[in-house]
């Protein structure tokens, strides 16, 4: 896996396909977007409905997008497309069992013949489907289907992976499982673009890119995403862009109001617990 997966987007604009006058009056879906994606990054892409994040994801993946202008430069010279794991896994699974699906994907990507079966089985057991290699796809749960799609991406060693609201149709347990697997792939060096509406999927090391009306409204760390300027209520980017902060963050904000500024600012429950219990101990030392 000695390739890089940098992507440089400059002045990306996407105009909707217009058949009627009414449609011609519509605003572009993406307006002059600039974005640099570094190799091995985890980017959480946020945005309200219709903000253009799915379109941006398609551009990053190199899928055909109508009405696209601007430059996309990638460091991966092979020119192959980046797999997208979508909301509805039914549309992208072709095989009738997990094993068949991943084998088919490897065949289509021209992997070495002798290694295909082994690679497929390895990738499927990596996402926890080792026991279900030959179970009909129709009998898998939604979360398991998403994991099959992810296993395919692992098997072909895709350097970049886009997951477009992959957990929005899943129950919280299956969501956690899918997120965990995506994090594990990222830990091994894959660049991941994770699109979501759920802020509790953020983690403290994430780079967050938030879209609004076709533009990038925020690009920074998760801590600065939640940072309230001068401690004013409603002053954080998260609130200004109309997102509901998760409970953990709300508690931390309330503590801030009481004069307890936590460092590092907690994003997930375990961080909150650690920050609160460790509060002040460094001062004593």
């Amino acid at each position: 896996m000695d390739f890089t997966s940098e992507v440089e987007l400059s002045a990306i604009t996407v105009k909707p396909i217009a058949f009627t006058e009414q449609q011609q009056r519509q605003e572009p879906i993406l307006k002059q977007v600039h974005l640099h994606i570094g190799s091995g990054e985890w980017i959480t892409l946020l945005g309200r409905n219709g903000s253009g994040k799915s379109t941006l994801a398609k551009v990053i993946a190199g899928a055909a997008v109508e009405g696209l202008s601007g430059d996309v430069i990638r460091s991966d010279p092979s020119g192959r497309l980046v797999p997208i794991v979508m909301q509805r896994p039914e549309a992208s699974l072709v095989g009738s069992t997990p094993w068949e699906d991943v084998v088919l994907m490897l065949e289509q990507n021209e992997a070495e013949e002798e290694r295909i079966a082994g690679l497929a089985e390895e990738a499927l057991s990596l996402v926890g489907l080792g026991e279900r290699l030959h179970q009909p796809i129709g009998t898998l749960s939604g979360g398991q289907k998403q994991l099959v799609a992810i296993a395919g991406c692992i098997a072909v060693y895709s350097p970049l992976l886009v997951l477009d609201e992959a957990t929005s149709m899943l129950d919280p347990e299956a969501s956690a499982l899918v997120l965990e697997q995506a994090r594990a792939i990222h830990a091994k060096g894959t660049t991941v673009i994770w699109i979501t509406q759920k802020l509790n999927e953020l983690n403290e090391r994430d780079r967050i890119v938030a879209m609004q009306d076709g533009r990038i409204a925020f690009d920074g760390t998760s801590t600065s995403w939640y940072e309230r300027v001068n401690g004013h209520e409603g002053a954080s980017v998260c609130e200004r862009l109309g997102f509901d902060a998760p409970y953990t963050v709300q508690v931390a904000w309330e503590l801030e109001k009481l004069g307890l500024t936590l460092d590092p600012f907690p994003i997930v429950p375990s961080m909150l617990a650690k920050a609160v219990s460790g509060y002040g101990s460094r001062l004593d030392a």
Partner: protein, 564 residues
């Protein structure tokens, strides 16, 4: 006065031959003036329960009543939905954003109200109110619903429900894919609905957003339903617990909050957990206590995080034969052998004997035949009718067997050959079929015949057919839910076929487009000289066994043909 909804000993099973139980002996009462959440894992039966309430699934045993009126009416052997009950609720199914039949948002709203027979003036007012409470601009009314964004489409589907002013709202995953603003306006709608003394049943995973609203919670698990106090239900979900509970548990685990469960259920805003402000105050207090020296110094205890969820063990049913036992080539060869010897039979008696031999071979696969029962029955009727017609003689009017026999024989032969072929579809997976075509006819590629593309196409078509059927079933449900039809389930009422066919094709095209995108992204369709085989079919023991049995059987059948 809004009636309450009762389920008594309700059992629902799947339609297939295996009759898997989806809901068993459910007893439940939904009260008006309350919002009830249905929670549980994917596949636990939440949506099934909601669809059962709405009459989209037939009840095997038990009874559903709204007030004193039953949902299903018995008319002899037939069960029909009770139209007045249907008008009292509005159902929004999953993926409610892709259900449009008509060309403008206004027409969609009017269409939803049609069964309610409201006057034109009243309809106008209702549209205005519904659009406002769903948070949609009135100018969107003239837009094609398909050109709205995903979130706007979801709001429009809510507006369609609200315009009907139903007493009950049945919502399936209403928050999926909605942004925070959308969720807030949905909650406001639900609150208004409840304040008017009406009821709602909501299936959701988003406990964090909807639990604060809920008056009652029912947990669905493996087809069983039990009521639970909102707080207990939230706790019962371990890894699925809302973020709030996990945060509180983590704080307690690190002794940053007093350990005991705050017992007082009367919380601000009706949430079963303290508000962030209350939690922060308690944590600050605990810190102050620690710093005053009473509490022992805290090691940063490893926060307790709930264990990763055990996977739902949807074990394969195991009863149906596996689709990769036989080499497709062996199957086709066996099929051709048997079909040829069946077609060689020259009399009905001989055919009957040969059919018995064939039937013996089909015994292990009888399960795979059940789903074709309707087709087989229809074909049998067809034989009888065609046989009768071909035997009729005029002047004098009589029935003559000798002239009917050849026709009947030919048709019966085809029936048996057809029966033989039916299980084959399920004994082969598309990929194995593709491989057998490639291995048998791969040499054609040298003659510039695109045999490998063709073989891949076969796989994709087979993959697409079940999706087509599934989509049609979804539209049939939609037609029932929105048109309040009382015709049999899983079929589109004749008067609605016209309305359904265009959106169905549209939806299929979208699906195909998504699939094409996904396939392209997954590397399909790269130009290549030589195909890559991840596995090759090899004739194995089961194949030789199959071929031997087929040879023997066809030999017997040929002897029968020769001797009778």
């Amino acid at each position: 006065m809004v009636a309450d909804w009762t389920l008594k000993e309700v059992t629902v099973v799947t339609d297939g031959p295996d009759r898997k139980t989806l809901l068993k002996n459910v007893n439940m009462r939904f009260e008006p003036g309350k919002i009830t959440l249905l929670v549980g894992r994917n596949g636990a039966g939440k949506s099934t329960l909601l669809e059962t309430l709405a009459g989209l699934r037939e009840v095997r045993f038990g009874e559903i009543k709204l007030g004193e009126t039953p949902l299903w009416m018995k008319k002899g052997r037939l069960k029909r939905l009770n139209a007045p009950v249907l008008l009292q609720f509005g159902l929004s199914m999953q993926h409610s954003e892709s259900q449009w039949f008509l060309s403008t948002a206004r027409a969609e709203l009017l269409y939803s109200m049609k069964p309610y027979k409201v006057t034109a003036k009243e309809a106008e007012q209702r549209i205005e109110r519904a659009m406002a409470s769903a948070g949609l601009d009135a100018e969107l009314l003239e837009r094609d619903p398909w050109t709205l964004s995903g979130g706007q489409q979801r709001r429009l589907s809510l507006a369609c429900l609200l315009a009907c002013e139903p007493e009950w709202l049945l919502l399936d995953e209403p928050t999926a894919g909605l942004d925070a603003v959308g969720i807030r306006s949905l909650c406001a709608v639900l609150e208004v609905h409840r304040a008017a003394g009406r009821g709602a049943v909501v299936v959701t995973h988003d406990i964090g957003a909807l639990l604060p609203l809920a008056d009652a919670v029912a947990v669905v698990e493996d087809g069983n339903v039990r009521e639970a106090a909102p707080a207990a239900a939230a706790h019962a979900h371990a890894a699925a617990a809302p973020e709030a509970l996990r945060a509180l548990a983590a704080l307690r685990g690190a002794a940053a909050l007093p350990p005991q469960e705050p017992a007082a259920p009367a919380r601000s805003g009706g949430t079963p957990w303290p508000s962030p402000r209350e939690a922060a105050a308690a944590a600050a207090e605990q810190l102050a206590r620690r710093d005053s020296g009473r509490a022992e110094p805290l090691a940063a205890a490893a926060a307790h995080t709930p264990p990763a969820a055990a996977q739902a063990a949807a074990a394969p049913s195991g009863r149906s034969p596996r689709a990769d036992t036989f080499d497709p080539r062996a199957l086709v060869a066996a099929y051709l052998l048997l079909a040829a010897s069946l077609l060689a039979q020259r009399s009905l008696a001989a055919l009957a004997l040969a059919a018995c031999v064939t039937a013996l071979l089909l015994v292990p696969y009888r399960q795979l035949l059940y789903r074709w029962a309707g087709v087989i029955r229809a074909y049998a009727y067809f034989i009888v009718i065609v046989g009768a017609i071909s035997g009729i003689r005029f002047r004098p009017f009589a029935f003559e067997w000798s002239s009917a026999e050849p026709t009947v024989l030919r048709l019966c032969q085809l029936l048996v050959v057809m029966l033989l072929g039916m299980p084959m579809l399920q004994l082969v997976t598309p990929l194995r079929l593709q491989r057998s075509i490639q291995q048998t006819f791969g040499w054609l590629a040298r003659l510039h015949i695109p045999i490998h593309s063709f073989a891949l196409l076969v796989t994709l078509i087979f993959r697409f057919i079940p999706l087509l059927a599934g989509e049609w079933e979804r539209f049939a449900k939609l037609a029932h839910a929105r048109g309040k039809a009382i015709t049999p389930l899983r079929s589109v009422p004749v008067r609605m076929i016209y309305a359904v066919i265009v959106p169905y094709i549209r939806s299929i095209v979208r699906l195909a487009e998504q699939m094409a995108d996904a396939l392209e992204a997954r590397g399909f369709g790269l130009a290549r000289q030589k195909p890559t085989y991840g596995f090759r079919l090899r004739l194995g023991k089961p194949d030789f066994l199959l071929l031997t049995v087929a040879l023997l059987a066809s030999a017997i059948e040929l002897i029968i043909a020769a001797s009778l």
